[in-house]
C-alpha cells in the first residue's frame, strides 16, 4: 500500500512537471524510456530467476494449483474483450492489453506506451497507457478494500483472483486474513504465474 502511494506520487510529480512544459524533459522522456524499459525487463527476469520463485513454483506445480491462475486469465480476458465491445474508442485487443496487466500497473502501462506507439501513434498509446495504469491500480485497490466481501460471497479463492499479480505481495496480508493461512501458498503461486504472464500477454496483445 505504501509502495503504491509512492508510485502514484512519483507519477503525479512527473505529471505536474510535464504541465510546466519544459521541452528538453519531454524530449528526454520520449526517447530514454524505451532503453530504461529494456533495463527493467532484464532486471525483472534476473529477479525471477534469482529468487526461489522458480523452485517454489516447481514444488507447488500441480494441475490443481495451476487452475486458479488459469481461471483468472480466462475470466479477465473474456470480460476485457466484452469491455472492448462496449468502449467504442478502443479495439478489443487494446482492452485485452489493458486487462492482461492483472494488477501489475507499473509494468503493463509502461509496456503499452512503448509497444503500442508504432501501431496507434504516440498520443493514443499514451492514452491507453494511462488507462492501463488507472485500471490496474483500481484492480489492486478493489482487492485491498473488498477482500472480506469477496470471500464472503464468492469463496476463499475470490480475493486471490481479484488481486491478480498482487496476490503475492501487496494483497497477500489481506488474503491471509480473509481466506486463511492455507491459501497463502496458492496466492503466492498465483502471483508468480501471473507475473511471468503479464509481459508475455501484454506484448502479445500490443502486436495484434
Amino acid at each position: 500500500m505504501k509502495n503504491s502511494l509512492i508510485i502514484l506520487g512519483i507519477f503525479l510529480l512527473g505529471l505536474a512537471i510535464g504541465m510546466l512544459h519544459i521541452d528538453p524533459l519531454s524530449w528526454f522522456s520520449a526517447h530514454a524510456s524505451t532503453y530504461i524499459l529494456y533495463a527493467l525487463m532484464l532486471q525483472i527476469g534476473i529477479s525471477i530467476g534469482h529468487s526461489n520463485k522458480l523452485t517454489e513454483m516447481k514444488r507447488q506445480l500441480h494441475w490443481s494449483t495451476l487452475c486458479l491462475p488459469l481461471m483468472t486469465i480466462v475470466g479477465t480476458l473474456l470480460f476485457s474483450a466484452l469491455a472492448g465491445i462496449l468502449l467504442s474508442d478502443w479495439s478489443i485487443t487494446d482492452c485485452l492489453a489493458v486487462g492482461s496487466g492483472f494488477g501489475y500497473y507499473s509494468l503493463s502501462s509502461l509496456l503499452i506506451v512503448d509497444l503500442k506507439a508504432p501501431f496507434i501513434g504516440t498520443d493514443k498509446a499514451l492514452q491507453l497507457g494511462t488507462i492501463a495504469l488507472l485500471a490496474n491500480i483500481i484492480r489492486e485497490m478493489t482487492c485491498l478494500i473488498g477482500a472480506p466481501f469477496f470471500t464472503r460471497h464468492f469463496g476463499k479463492y475470490a480475493p486471490i483472483t481479484v488481486a491478480g499479480v498482487t496476490s503475492m505481495d501487496v494483497c497477500l496480508p489481506i488474503i491471509r486474513e480473509t481466506s486463511g493461512n492455507a491459501m497463502v501458498p496458492i496466492a503466492l503461486l498465483h502471483g508468480i504465474c501471473l507475473e511471468i504472464t503479464v509481459p508475455v500477454m501484454v506484448s502479445f496483445f500490443c502486436q495484434l
Binding site: 508510485i7 512519483i10 507519477f11 510529480l13 512527473g14 505529471l15 512537471i17 510535464g18 504541465m19 524533459l25 519531454s26 522522456s29 530514454a32 524510456s33 530504461i36 524499459l37 529494456y38 533495463a39 527493467l40 525487463m41 532484464l42 532486471q43 527476469g45 534476473i46 529477479s47 530467476g49 534469482h50 522458480l54 490443481s64 481461471m71 483468472t72 475470466g75 479477465t76 480476458l77 473474456l78 470480460f79 476485457s80 469491455a83 462496449l86 482492452c95 489493458v98 486487462g99 492483472f102 509494468l107 502501462s109 509502461l110 498520443d123 499514451l126 492514452q127 497507457g129 488507462i131 485500471a135 490496474n136 483500481i138 484492480r139 469463496g155 475470490a158 483472483t161 491478480g164 506484448s203
Partner: protein, 97 residues
C-alpha cells in the same frame, strides 16, 4: 516485442545461473527505482500533452469499465469453475491436500 521477451527470458537465465550470488537479492530495490524513473518520465510525457490532460476524466471512466470487467470476469469464472469442480469431485479434493 521480441526484445522485451528476450530480455525477460535472458534475465531469468542469468538470475538462475547466479542464484548463489547473494548480492543480487538487492535487485528488487533497483527494480523499484527503475519503475519510479519510468513512471516519472511517463508522468512528464502525459503532463506535457494538454489534449491528454483534458481527456483525463474520459480515460478514468474507461479504466473503470475495463477494470471492473476484468474483476467480474475472473470472479465469475473462478466461482463457477470451483462450484462445478466441488460438485463433481467433492470427495476427491481430500486426496489433493
Amino acid at each position: 516485442m521480441f526484445i522485451i521477451l528476450l530480455l525477460l527470458a535472458g534475465g531469468i537465465g542469468i538470475g538462475y545461473l547466479m542464484r548463489h550470488i547473494h548480492f543480487l537479492q538487492h535487485i528488487d530495490k533497483s527494480i523499484s527505482f527503475t519503475i519510479y524513473v519510468l513512471l516519472f518520465l511517463f508522468g512528464i510525457h502525459i503532463g506535457s500533452d494538454q489534449k491528454l490532460i483534458d481527456s483525463f476524466h474520459t480515460l478514468g471512466l474507461q479504466a473503470f469499465v475495463i477494470s471492473f470487467a476484468g474483476i467480474i470476469g475472473s470472479l465469475l469464472v473462478t466461482y463457477i469453475a470451483f462450484r462445478v469442480w466441488k460438485k463433481r469431485g467433492g470427495e476427491r479434493r481430500s486426496d489433493e491436500e
